[in-house]
């Protein structure tokens, strides 16, 4: 928000100039907007009356600009009153709850029950038309909007940790409301303010148009349109000017509101990058580059590199990743956040977001390169030969479909069997993954299930078509330890039973030790070490692996912190990416390091591999 974007600047500039004009009108030396000149009525553009004269011979330009002054005065005054009253009521209602909440919210609800123009007419009936009536009526009309916005925002803000922290510090309530709550609810209120300004002008001009708003001869855009309608045949242009002024003004307020909303909304701030370039060569000539296929491998990935276009330029969250997993094997990919482990597998599944694309490497699965398959071919594989278990079972099920139907859908996407047959299979799957009372649970909605139960549904969905490769992306991170133990057991059972390969992504070294045969340690987008779990954990070769193991508290060893933090992808170091945090770095570590074979199926990316000793090997030495 530091820089004013053009989207924000244009409407803001327009509104600013309108306000300036409205304020400066009396000093512009314009003809009196209410002085009639009947002999010259309806004359066209002429010097002295740049836009002509109306049905009473009044100067149109002057009336137009004075009209802007009246309209904006009414709109700003009424909106400001509504904003102050509404914010105060909403703030008190949301913070103190109880009686204040009841009064402010119910009051707002009652007003919101009436269509705005009708309520306005009701007020006019009681008070008679005029500027004061308009201001009062518009304030009443728009206060509930502010009450609702402020109330909703306060409710979501009051439970934030930083507000609790202020309470815990012993701050007084006025201090918390003014210094902590109000600044944090200001943006949506500002959006509401600009929205309401536009709406107020619409209602004001509409009422004036009906002859129930501003009282003639006071100039107003609505009144001008009303007057010009009568003389439409003789002077159509008279109609055009106020219509144009009104529409442009409202457009400016609407655009300002949209731009403000986008500027404040964190979701839209994360800019989507460019679309991926179609891999034309690969579509035309698949198999142009023959692959070295490892026989007996379920999936063989070589040199996978993924690029993402961001505002700060192209980043490589995954750089030269290679691994092989055989049928029935379990590979654990372990790393901290930002290591690129999730991007690696989403890339393999062809589920990367639009801004990301694999730019190099190959991933041979059942004889074909996944990275060079067409979207249709990939879709036929996904959910069938290649299935995925997501991290968050809460959000990964569609809340508006029954869980049984979602499993049935997965079956029917790949096999032409009848719906009842698919449902019978879903029932068997539910039973297999240990869902109690499976017949009833098929017809349950996702929100009726616990986290562990939903993860079982996700697993049932993933194994529905007997995949050869199962990719589990942190499947137990969102679960409690006793649930985690259940799910890990289930996955191990299923793998033994079906003989499918399993890629298991996790940040927990303990889970790796539980479930995996081989482990691949990732750091800042690269593989730093891989090999059989037992030997890697007993004698890590890479300083990062050793440091990770030492950072986990276990038994009587105190956890040893690793200094610093994982760098963001646009700040990856040139040479060894771990060197800035490594206690063993030497000058050669400034150079990029290749992944080197180290015997017994071990590979490591470290200039000092071999001359450093960690883990049990170090103690034995």
């Amino acid at each position: 928000m530091r820089r004013l974007r053009p989207r924000l600047a244009l409407p803001a500039l327009l509104i600013l100039s309108l306000v300036v004009i409205a304020l400066a009108v009396p000093f512009l030396g314009l003809p009196n907007p209410v002085r009639q000149d009947i002999p010259n009525r309806l004359t066209g553009m002429a010097p002295g009356a740049l836009l002509g004269r109306d049905e009473f011979g009044r100067d149109v330009l002057s009336r137009l600009l004075w009209g802007a002054r009246i309209s904006l005065f009414i709109a700003f005054t009424a909106t400001t009153i509504a904003a102050l009253a509404g914010t105060l009521l909403g703030l008190l209602g949301g913070w103190f709850r109880g009686m204040a909440e009841f009064l402010s919210i119910r009051l707002a609800d009652v007003i919101l029950c009436f269509p705005p123009i009708l309520l306005a007419l009701l007020v006019v009936t009681i008070m008679g038309p005029g500027v004061a009536t308009l201001i009062l009526m518009l304030s009443i009309l728009y206060t509930p909007g502010f009450v609702r916005v402020a109330y909703g925002e306060v409710l979501s803000t009051r439970n934030q940790d930083f507000v609790t922290a202020m309470t815990a510090l012993g701050a007084t309530t006025p201090r918390i409301l003014a210094l902590t709550v109000l600044p944090n609810i200001a943006s949506p209120l500002l959006v509401q303010y600009s929205l309401t300004l536009g709406a107020a002008i619409v209602v004001e001009s509409g009422l004036s148009f009906l002859g129930l708003g501003v009282v003639p001869p006071t100039p107003s855009w609505g009144l001008m349109i009303r007057g010009a309608r009568a003389t439409m045949e003789q002077a159509p242009l008279l109609l055009l000017w106020p219509c144009l002024a009104l529409t442009v003004t409202i457009l400016a307020f609407n655009l300002l509101c949209d731009a403000l909303r986008d500027a404040f909304d964190p979701k839209s701030a994360a800019g989507a990058g460019a679309r991926p370039k179609p891999r034309l060569v690969d579509c035309l000539a698949p198999g142009l580059f023959p692959s070295r296929v490892d026989p007996g491998a379920s999936l063989s990935v070589r040199g996978l590199t993924v690029e993402i276009d961001t505002k700060r330029g192209v980043i490589r969250p995954v750089d030269d990743v290679s691994f092989t997993i055989g049928a029935g094997e379990t590979l654990a990919i372990v790393g901290e956040s930002g290591s690129g482990k999730s991007v690696t597998v989403t890339g393999l599944m062809g589920l990367l977001p639009a801004a990301a694309r694999p730019v190099a490497g190959e991933a041979v699965f059942e004889g074909h390169d996944l990275l060079r398959r067409s979207p249709d071919q990939l879709r036929a594989l996904r959910g069938a030969r290649l299935a995925m278990i997501p991290q968050d079972p809460m959000s990964s099920l569609n809340p508006v479909h029954k869980v049984g139907d979602q499993v049935v859908e997965a079956i029917l996407a790949h096999r032409s069997i009848t719906r009842p047959a698919a449902r019978a299979e879903a029932l068997a799957l539910f039973r297999r993954v240990g869902i109690a009372d499976p017949e009833r649970r098929l017809d349950a909605w996702p929100h009726e299930m616990s986290g562990g139960m939903r993860q079982r549904v996700m697993i049932a969905m993933a194994i529905a078509n007997r995949p050869a490769l199962l990719i589990a992306d942190e499947p137990t991170t969102a679960l409690d330890v006793t649930m985690q133990a259940q799910i890990l057991d289930l996955l191990a059972d299923l793998r033994r039973e079906t003989g499918s390969a399993l890629i298991f992504i996790t940040h927990s070294l303990g889970v790796v030790a539980e479930i995996a045969d081989t482990v691949m340690v990732m750091y800042a987008g690269q593989v730093v070490e891989q090999g059989p779990v037992a030997s890697v954990f007993a004698a890590p070769l890479h300083p990062y692996t050793a440091a990770l193991l030492a950072a986990v508290p276990q038994d009587d060893a105190a956890p040893e912190p690793i200094p610093g933090a994982v760098p963001p992808p646009h700040q990856f170091p040139q040479g060894c990416r771990f060197a800035p945090r490594c206690g063993h770095a030497l000058p050669p570590c400034g150079e990029a390091q290749p992944l080197r074979q180290f015997g017994n199926g071990r590979e490591v990316r470290c200039a000092r591999a071999g001359d450093l000793r960690f883990g049990r090997a170090a103690h034995d030495a």
Partner: protein, 179 residues
């Protein structure tokens, strides 16, 4: 779309009359003929006001649907649907549009209020003998009981519409039913 949102209904109505009736002489400038006397003319006369009232709704529904779909698209369950290997069309139908519908419906219901209010203006512009003429006359004449009567009738209609919307929403989203 932004322009369509911005132009007030009575301005659009007036401009349309200026263009279609006054300048091009394609249509009558407004008025009313009972349906049974001349169905064609009735519908012709109805078409412009209906179009003008509908414009606001089109703009609102367009914006809301777009925002709602953009909100749903990056969600995890959409990725699950893709991971199942569903065709893109099915992903959009069953897992995006279906979920995006609720918010659109709610906003639609709430905007019915502005729509019903806008009708007063549009009827006036097109000389359509609906509730607006007696209403405006009653306001001008400070006929308080009459105004209250009409306002309450229309507000009742508005509340009824919103009740229907809420019930529809509950039918669409099982979470609402539970809460």
């Amino acid at each position: 779309m932004a322009l369509l949102m911005a132009v007030p209904v009575f301005v659009l109505g007036t401009l349309l009359i200026l263009l279609l009736a006054q300048t091009l002489k394609l249509m009558p400038a407004g008025g009313f003929v009972p349906f049974w006397r001349d169905p064609g003319q009735h519908l012709l006369l109805l078409s412009l006001p209906a179009l003008v009232i509908g414009k606001g709704l089109v703009a609102i529904v367009f914006r809301m649907t777009r925002a709602s779909v953009l909100d749903i698209l990056p969600r995890d369950h959409v990725r699950t649907a893709r991971a199942k290997g569903l065709a893109e069309g099915r992903v959009l139908r069953a897992h995006v549009v279906r979920n995006a519908f609720g918010p659109v419906l709610t906003v639609l219901g709430l905007h019915m209020g502005a729509l019903l209010g806008g009708t007063v203006l549009v009827e006036y512009v097109f000389n359509w003998p609906g509730l607006s003429t007696p209403l405006i006359r009653a306001v001008e004449g400070r006929d308080y009981p009459m105004v209250v009567g009409i306002v309450l009738t229309v507000s009742g209609l508005f509340l009824l519409i919103n009740l229907v919307v809420d019930l529809l929403y509950a039918a669409l989203d099982p979470r609402i039913r539970a809460g």
